[in-house]
Subunit: 418 residues, 3 copies
């Protein structure tokens, strides 16, 4: 995953344009994608697909012709959606077009202006303070023109038409946790899903954030509402910070149940952010009338780590171990949901586990602890609880319950009731 | 409010009698009151309206004729509902008729005997200890005779026949927080209510505590149960202590919701007393079968401050600032309830606030915080929550939500659904 | 109770055999018992009644003929259900048949092998370490043969056919808290129940644990499910440790309510164990499909005190005071349940308690506290709460509410509505 990110990192992505297409090409090496292009001006709910933005070059040169800021060094240097400019300005005239962070003097901030025509440069505050009074030549070779918004969809059919929905975004330039960790983990989850037949159909989308999810919803809302039983938005999922998630609007969907179950047992120190702290595409998926059962899953949540939306969110912050951890949490969630059924114990009273080789035959102080999980599972297999509910009740991960369920089914002690 | 209290303070009120009438006259200078007189002996639920008590003079004189206790100094000196007496007694014979507080030696206690014929004098423990053995002349010039119980009602009609009910009491002699703060704040709330058209009809009563609320209920129960949507009993609401309220019997009425909402956001250190700590007219309004949606609102609750029911509960304890704070809490509650409607966002997904001038057009780290309240409001305007519920969910007072709702309605983004 | 235990203590009980019968004979001196014998091989739910085990003698002698372990000293020395043996073995050959506790060197452990044929001896670790290498003569004079499982039932008819179910077990050899405290307290509760007419019919069973409750359920399930409104399993209820109970599967039965009410008010430091910590016959009574409203009540819960399942669980650990405390808790629970009715106050508003002699006639600061319980009772007698609910709400034990209810009924202020 980290190597994939290294290839995709230099691409200058935005909410539209060739950067998105190049990134989707890289993902397409791993997953069967359908690419969709939605023309500029298309009405999508309350919004409109904007003009497409592409950029080739941009710099600021001082009076001697030295490039003091250069897009070729880092694509964060240009404000996203900057309109073309080629002019010579005094430092004073230039200042309103410069963005830097006094409290993080070595970070280039990430700034965009999607919905109002502007141009601007972002730079470290340290560089900015070195700019001497004088004339500067600013040059942005960009295009803002009718085109299209690009996204990709990957459908992996399962036994059921019921769906699990995975969403991640491909619209930020060179940032690692708050961009590429999501597509990387999502792509590798997709590869794992393809490795075996699945109960659910998986719908995976790689989209630009906000306008992309709105566009996708506007074209697929009925299908999503009818079929999606569980959804995750994957973002900021590759650093080594603790795990977190942004709950749904009321925190009561299946997605909340599943992520809570997995994180509580595997990472009890995780953070649950309420919907009030939303900021990614859970904003759209959880909006009134959309109401998909979806949460956003993160390690260090967007907006909660100091490198967020700056050039410091790079391939050092995201690590192979960080990505592997994020991947495992999502895989555990999907495995739990795939295995989630409701069972009822067939006999009355406790079953005689001993004669079936499931219980120690000699009772000593302490014996029986090893079968405690098994008897707890049986006790709560009363037809009212699915495995996730039982896992919550007895504190054992679903992945440990599944082989026990198989033993008990083989012993004709359990019957599935859903 | 404080000046009003200063005028009303010297009046000797009780549960019946001319003191109540004089106090209602003062209130009537500010509000349109209907005065009701209910004859002695009238059956009111399980009770009976008692005889009317009036008092003109009372004193204890020592053998030299010095008045050692004198009603003219402080009307708390006479036990409420004392029957007439004119006799000479030894100190020993007098003792059973004296009431003082050894642990508060400078306070005259407030004592009454409404339902058994007695006479008595209340005095500071310091004075009591100075009484030398000897003969004392006791004199109480009071009348306990058939008459009536007096209360006042003020109806302020609104658009709807649904009502807000405000109750306060006028039955204690010279005490400030546990008596006149309630009528003062209620009167000024009434003046404010008259200053503009209101959604709800307001029913305001000034009554003697307990027997008065029972009397009022016995004559108005059906109307109250049919119309009252929100009720407050105002008592002990003028000192500078923290805010508190006495919850309804199960703590689940609209009144509990409204006061909880306002106090949680404005005075998070407030105290919620359960119905087990009731003591004022919430006892009657919340009794089984009456079940009005009402809470009692206080600053320092009756029985919880050291000056309570003594001469120390005076015009120093209650201050203009204390009264203003109580007034504001009640006004905030009524404003929130008047404004409380349920809305549904019209578009799917988040609305494009930017093109409506409701969102900053340049995204920088930190931008967007200022519109967070707006987007949170929209997110929970899903047709399930009224504004008070949204206020609870997102932590913003209703009074700050109202102008945002107006903006969103003007932008045709919200529709009222109730 | 302690004297009863002293008589029953030496008997070698097991899940079947004459030890059970002798114990039931002792109980039968106090309660009218019906003894049931269920033949070996009878199918009971998922189980089968095992062969009957009886033992007459057992010892290990060293080469000199000294009995180094002797059943005559303590019946815990023989593993329960040991098959007969008479052989001479080297110490090395003997070792796999010996059970001791290195961390409790002076305790003889309690070990059984009901469902696999084995023989074994249990001894203190101190004794075991003294065994010198050499030959040992082992002798167990036991019988494992077709016979029956024995249990006793005591039905005490009440006004109603609705039942309270009490269960305790008689299957452990010489142990006090985790065995005889249960039968002792249960027997004395039975004697108390016989002392007066009761509202409910009481069904009391003395059974072997696990196989006994399964057997009993398999023969009485329909009747139990139809009639039992409250059940307690009594175990480990005679030591001087704090009180505890094992909640039902979801902690929401009437039994949970009753024991929670009584212990919360009487022993607020008690421990509530969840069903995950079950271990006695609540396992069967609370199994899916059985679902009786039953909790297990203990002082120091099985498995939670160091003497558990060893020879240290003796008549010193269980004391007369400990037994009396356990008895009182159960009696309080049953009294509360017998008295548990729902009432509605007849008048509107608060009743005038004064004219009925239920309220002080002079109001002073502090007066009224003594009638607070009475007024709280009245306030929550709204037809929605039974006395246990009111007790929980107002924090007064049911036994203190009952005389107040009687006063209020006599004053025609309350009416029963169930």
């Amino acid at each position: 995953m980290h190597a994939f990110m290294a290839r995709a990192f230099p691409i200058c992505r935005s909410i539209t344009g060739d950067g998105v297409r190049q990134t989707l090409d890289l993902i397409g090496e791993h997953l069967p994608l359908t690419i969709h292009e939605v023309p500029t001006g298309t009405r999508v709910f309350d919004w409109e697909v904007p003009r497409e933005w592409n950029i080739r070059d941009a710099w600021i040169a001082d009076a001697e012709g030295n490039r003091v800021v250069d897009f070729a060094d880092n694509n964060l240097h240009v404000m996203g959606y900057s309109v073309p400019v080629d002019a010579t300005l005094s430092l004073e005239e230039l200042e309103p077009h410069l963005y830097s962070l006094p409290d993080k003097p070595d970070a280039i901030p990430y700034v965009t202006s999607y919905y109002k025509e502007r141009w601007g440069f972002c730079l470290t505050h340290a560089s900015r303070e070195k700019l001497a009074p004088g004339q500067y030549h600013v040059h942005i070779d960009s295009t803002l023109a009718d085109g299209s918004l690009t996204y990709a969809e990957c459908i992996l059919p399962g036994e059921s038409e019921e769906e699990v929905f995975l969403s991640t975004y491909v619209c930020h330039p060179s940032m690692a946790n708050n961009e590429l960790s999501g597509p990387a983990v999502t792509t590798w989850i997709g590869k794992w899903l393809q490795s075996a037949p699945r109960r659910y159909t998986y719908r995976i989308v790689f989209i630009p954030e906000t306008i992309g999810s709105i566009t996708y919803l506007s074209r697929n809302l009925d299908a999503l509402k009818a079929r999606v039983k569980l959804g995750f938005n994957l973002t900021c999922i590759g650093d080594e910070g603790g795990y977190s998630y942004v709950a749904s609007r009321y925190g009561n969907t299946t997605a909340d149940r599943v992520i809570h179950n997995v994180l509580s047992l595997k990472h009890p120190g995780h953070v649950r952010y309420s919907f009030l702290e939303r900021g990614s595409d859970e904003r759209q998926y959880g909006a009134p009338g959309v109401d998909l059962p979806l949460v956003s899953v993160c390690r260090s949540k967007f907006g909660k780590y100091p490198e967020y939306h700056t050039s410091l969110d790079n391939l050092d912050l995201v690590t192979p171990a960080g990505l592997a951890g994020g991947y495992e949490v999502i895989r555990d969630c999907l495995e739990a949901f795939e295995a989630n059924h409701t069972y009822r114990v067939i006999c009355l009273g406790e079953p005689q586990l001993g004669r079936r080789g499931l219980y120690p035959t000699v009772s000593t102080p302490g014996s029986g602890r090893s079968v405690r999980t098994l008897t707890n599972l049986v006790a709560y297999c009363d037809g009212d609880n699915d495995l996730i509910a039982i896992s919550d009740l007895i504190g054992t991960p679903v992945r440990e319950l599944v082989p026990l369920v198989e033993k008990l089914e083989a012993a004709e002690l359990l019957r599935r009731v859903d």
